[in-house]
Each structure stands twice: as structure tokens, then as C-alpha cells.
Amino acid sequence: MSAVVTDGAPRLARRRPALKGLGAAGGLLPFGAYVTIFLLVPAVAVVVGAFRSPTGQATLHNLHLATQSQYRKGYETSIELSIIASVLPAILGFLIARSIHRAPAESFLRRLVVSLSGVFANFGGVPLAFLFISTVGNTGLLTKWLSDIHFDLYGDTGFNLYGKSGVVLVYLYFQIPLMVLVILPALEGLTPSWREASDNLGGSTLDYWRHVGGPALAPSVLGATLLLFGSAFSAYATAEALTSGTIALTPIQIGAFLNGNVLPGQENVGKALATGMLLIIGAVMVVYVLLQRRAAKWSQT
């Protein structure tokens, strides 16, 4: 495939490289096929399976069961947990981001925190669970320190690493850094001259946050919180490693179906549960994307 040379100069404009219409689209085929086979097909299968009985007939029985008793509890606990594990780190993460954003020693402290956030946000699952077990588990370091000063961590506060409170505590470890990383660019997007303009026109700090900074940041903060919610809601590894399935969480319950601990006739209830998860997260992500678009509008100048 050599270039056509006219008058000594290759005329690139006239030559169409072999990426012609159909051929080019064909180039995307492997990717499309792969995503379809390995992502969409299983996802669709789950949803379809939710409506089938073990013998293959269409039924709503699975869905019905999925909203009953322990599964309902599972959803409730999952959602409750995810709300706490998203709102709390959202607030804390925002405060941290604000601290390093405004800190005068911006260059070192800030770089340190951002790099560490990148690293900690990657923490999760099994290793993280083990870290916390060594810290606040039954024989954890902090637990021992506290008992040395006659403070029973488990008895006095009702805290339980292997229960809900523990899971939330552990989730904070990667949720907070995630929030910091997501909200920092938004804080950067708060042009400093907005603050100056507000000051100049006579506004106090409160005025600024109420009328300018707050509304401008709101979509990003809400969006980030939603992202955190999705992250907490779909987490499996950390919860499982910590609780070994002792608390009712939807992802754990779904996993239980795969381990064969299933009553006959209810094999597909797990798929119904999974479908429920998809719906919830899907809705959350849609709102997230819409909020991102709104936030992008505000930061255009």
C-alpha cells in the first residue's frame, strides 16, 4: 500500500486510507461482540432468569419471594448501610478536600493527600478486612489498648466489626478517598474570583456558600454521593470477608445462591435479587449522569 505521489507531494487528502465505511465499522466488531457476549448476555440472562421457574416456565414467583422476609431485610439493610456508607464519607471527604484545597501549604500537603487518596481508594475487599480485623477485631490492637484503659469496645458501645457498624467503618476506608478524588476537581472548578466577586459586592462567607458556592457545587456533591452509594451497595468482597454472611446484605445473599445453599424451587430467586440490584443501581447511575451534565454546565465559562 504505497502512497500515490503527484507532483512530488503525496496527496493525502485524496487517498482514503483503507478505513472505509463498512470496513471501519467492522473494526469495532470484535469489541462489540466481546462486550455483548461477556457482559450483556449474562446481564440479560440474569434478568430473564428472574422471571423463570426452575423448570423454565415464566413466573413472577421469584420476584415475589425476593421482596419477602429475609430478602426484603437484605435490601433494607443494604440500602440503609449504603446510605450511611455514602453520606458519611461524602461529608468527611468533602471536609478533607476543602481542607487541602484551601490549605496555605498547598503544594506539599495537598500532593501528599491526593496521592494517598489515590492509593487508599484502591484498597478494598479482603486485604482491607484483614487490616481492620487486626485493629478493631476481637483481639485487635485498638481493642486491646482500649481494654487496657478499661473501655470495652464491643461491650460499651455496641460496636461490632463483624456486623453493620463494622462494615460501615471499613467501607469508609475506600469511600472517603473516593469522595476526595471525585470532589477535588469540582472544588477546583470553583473559580476563586467568584468568591472575590461575592466579597466585593458585600457578601460574607455564609452569603457566598449560600448563593454561589453551594449551588455550584451541589450537583457534583450529590453526584459523588450517588457514586459512593453505588459503590457501597454493590460491594461484596469486603462484607463477605468480614461477616462471612452473617448479616443480611443483598450481594451476600445473591452469592449464597451460587454456593448451593438453596431451597428447591427457589433457585432463581437469586436472579430476582440481582435484577433488583440492577434496577436500583441503574436508577442511581442515571441520576448521577444527569447531575454530572448539570455540573459541567456550571463550570463552563
Binding site: F31, I96, N122, G124, L131, G230, S234, I254, V289
Partner: protein, 288 residues
């Protein structure tokens, strides 16, 4: 876990940005004194530091203490544990296969999208949200439902799925890398000089994409080595799965292995971010 998907990429970007932006001299002091807000900031940051560092210390102490004093036995003991070698090798193999498939799939796709379908870029950006919406636990349910028995019998089914999990940030890494130079011109230049597609890809594009490919690979490997959900539900003993099972016999080595895995991931991430980012920055300026 969403954190698995977005966090590594965000984390990498965060580290890379911070390591590569020269500290700006904020030549502005507010008429409002710095004093008032400072105390809250200090408290916030201190408490945060404690929260994040204490578990590391606790784990380190637990893993590296034998009979009350410091010892490497915890770490050394890892390799002696039952099943460690098999689990680690399996994870390693899965990482390798996943990376190769991922590269073979994503590099041409990303290049094609940039070259020929720039208007599809928004669509692809949205596509990278899909693995967040379809959590691994849901995905594995579906996979086990539709996969043929032959595939289910091999752990490499996991590798095939890991490619999907890694897709978002492999794509985004490549996307960022492709945006850092003038793709169209380079490709046209190469083809006008007589290069075929494959040679263009190999000799021209990949060298320019080195850091992007590298960070994508690192993120993929980190993901595979840390992936627990799908592996345990598919009932294959990869390294993270092994750590949990091994806890029953020796929690010290499990904790040590966890720490080790984390530290290695961090180090690699930081190295890649520092090394990869620098290249990109310098490269641009030189080419300009």
C-alpha cells in the same frame, strides 16, 4: 465493587497529576487571616491520618510480631502455607491472560474510535459506566448461567470476564494517551510512507502509547490480583480467595499476605504514575 472500577483509575490520575504538576506558588494571601480556619483543618487532617494509618500499623504489628518481638516469620511463612503457590500462580496466570486479551481488544478499538469515529467517544465514555452498573456479583450469576460447561470447567472463564471488568480503565487510559498526541497526522504520515496497518500500529502508535498502555496494564493486573467476588463465587482459588481460606489456619500469614499485596500494588501504582506521567509531559513538549 465500584471502587474497584473507578477508584484505580481515579487514583492513578490523582497520583499522576500530583506527581507531575510543579508546585504552584499561590501568591495570594487572603485579607481574611488564615488563623481561624486553620484549627479545624488541622483537626480534620489529624483524625483522618489516624483513621487511615492505624489499621496499617495494627496489621503490620500483627503480621510481623512473634512472641512479642519483631520477626519476619509472618512474611516468610506465607510461601510455606498450603496452597499459596497454586493460588498465586493461578492469579498470576489469570492476570497475564486478562492483560493480553484486554490489550488485543482495546488498543485497536480505542485507536479506531479516535481515528474514525470521534463522535462515538461520548458513547464510549458512557459505556465505561456499565461495569459499575452491573456489579461483579450480579455478573457472575449471569455468567454461570449461560456459560457452556467446558468454559465453566476452566478458571480462564474468569480471565474472560476480568477483561470486561478492566475495560473501563483500560479504555480510559488509552483514551487519555491517544489524546496526548496528534493521532491523525501520525497515522497519515506513517501510511503515506508506505506502512501497513499492523506496522503502523506496532512501530508508530504503540511507542507513543507506551505510558498509557503501561498504566492500563498495571490497573488491570491490580484488579485481577485483587478480585475476590467472582473468583470465590466461581469457586476457584485465586490469591485473594486463598488469603481468606488460609485465615482459618494461620491468620498471621493471611494478614501478612494482605499487607504485602497492598504494598506492592501501591508501589507499582506510584512508580507507574511517576514514570508514565513524566514521559507523557516531556514527550509532548519535545514534539511541540
Amino acid at each position: 465493587m465500584v471502587a474497584d472500577v473507578t477508584a484505580p483509575e481515579l487514583g492513578l490520575r490523582g497520583i499522576a497529576t500530583e506527581l507531575n504538576t510543579p508546585p504552584r506558588t499561590r501568591a495570594r494571601s487572603r485579607a481574611r487571616s488564615i488563623g481561624r480556619g486553620n484549627v479545624t483543618h488541622i483537626i480534620v487532617l489529624t483524625l483522618t491520618a489516624v483513621y487511615f494509618l492505624l489499621p496499617l500499623y495494627a496489621a503490620g504489628k500483627f503480621a510481623l510480631t512473634v512472641d512479642g518481638h519483631f520477626s519476619w516469620a509472618g512474611l516468610k511463612g506465607i510461601s510455606k502455607q498450603d496452597g499459596f503457590k497454586d493460588a498465586f500462580v493461578l492469579s498470576f496466570k489469570l492476570a497475564l491472560v486478562t492483560t493480553l486479551i484486554s490489550l488485543a481488544l482495546m488498543v485497536p478499538t480505542a485507536v479506531l474510535v479516535h481515528l474514525r469515529f470521534p463522535n462515538l467517544r461520548r458513547f464510549f465514555d458512557g459505556l465505561t459506566l456499565l461495569p459499575i452498573v452491573i456489579p461483579p456479583v450480579v455478573l457472575i450469576v449471569g455468567v454461570l448461567q449461560v456459560a457452556p460447561q467446558k468454559l465453566k470447567g476452566t478458571p480462564y472463564l474468569l480471565a474472560l470476564e476480568y477483561v470486561v471488568l478492566a475495560m473501563p480503565f483500560m479504555y480510559r487510559s488509552l483514551d487519555a494517551g491517544l489524546r496526548s498526541f496528534d493521532l491523525r497526522t501520525i497515522v497519515d504520515a506513517s501510511r503515506s510512507l508506505g506502512g501497513g496497518w499492523l506496522s503502523t500500529l506496532w512501530h508508530v502508535l504503540l511507542p507513543n502509547l507506551r505510558s498509557a498502555v503501561l498504566s492500563g496494564v498495571v490497573l488491570t493486573v491490580a484488579l485481577v490480583l485483587g478480585e475476590y467476588t467472582m473468583a470465590t463465587l466461581d469457586q476457584y482459588t485465586t490469591f485473594p480467595v486463598w488469603i481468606v481460606y488460609n485465615d482459618q489456619s494461620s491468620s498471621q500469614t493471611s494478614v501478612a499476605a494482605s499487607l504485602l499485596a497492598l504494598l506492592v500494588t501501591w508501589l507499582v501504582l506510584i512508580i507507574i504514575a511517576a514514570f508514565g506521567g513524566q514521559r507523557r509531559g516531556r514527550g509532548n513538549r519535545e514534539e511541540a
